[in-house]
Subunit: 136 residues, 2 copies
Amino acid sequence: MTVEELLHKYDLKNTGCRKFILGEMLKSDTAQSENELKESYPDLFDRVTFYRTLKTLEERGIIHKIVLNDNSVKYALSRHHHEDNHLHSHFHCEKCDEVLCLRGKTQFEAELPQGFIMNEVFVVIEGVCAGCGIHS
Amino acid sequence: MTVEELLHKYDLKNTGCRKFILGEMLKSDTAQSENELKESYPDLFDRVTFYRTLKTLEERGIIHKIVLNDNSVKYALSRHHHEDNHLHSHFHCEKCDEVLCLRGKTQFEAELPQGFIMNEVFVVIEGVCAGCGIHS
DNA sequence: ATATATTTGCAACATTATTGCATTTGAAAT
DNA sequence: ATTTCAAATGCAATAATGTTGCAAATATAT
């Protein structure tokens, strides 16, 4: 699916910043931070526009935000509209800083206190990825 | 154990900011943000001192940091020096914003790609706590 | 009581994120 | 093609959060 089709499907206008962000995300199979997304064209769009666009895309569920334990934030396409399991798992490599989505590959169970309701679960696994493990 | 004993045990000087932060944490059974900790005495210590103190206490393992999905940060005492299982689970109430430590009450399994090494797992469950569920 | 490494406060700065408002633009209707 | 208008963008200002360097104050070992 092209970026234009994707935006049309979600009833969003086909604007420059949206096309750029989604284009960059489609090119990568890992999650990217604001600065990583901007790398090739740092000043193509105003920072405010970038924030607002990320927020819009997130609200529509086209992308999702991953907050890591060091407070840094990355974004990735949500490629899973069918299986809506409320469990969001990501792997964060401590060496190269890459973040990988792990959906479908993790299982989680919790015994909550009486009366507590669980809506969503966010999991971040910190570790070392295969590439960094070899080269160390 | 008193705050003074705790600090001595960890080979840290018995200073004002440390005593204050640990004192506030001992009073509460939920995790607290910088602003929540400071609530009763907002200007008792400089902000920089507060940050540095939190960092020191965290490095020594006396407290731990919880980063929520909205980028906010809370801190809580690490009351679990014996069971060192690398799984850090917390519940975050969407209504009252309280954060509860859930250690020992959660189970997690992940099937990582070949060659990946898992070091630590951070879990944040978003939901509604018992108190907020009743009063809604 | 003294010595000294550590802690603290202050000033400055960096990064990340938000708000209001005027201008521009996508795309629907004519 | 042109018009229209809500939506998107850029700019300026501001807020919140976190860091660094350095001088002054202080905890504690001697």
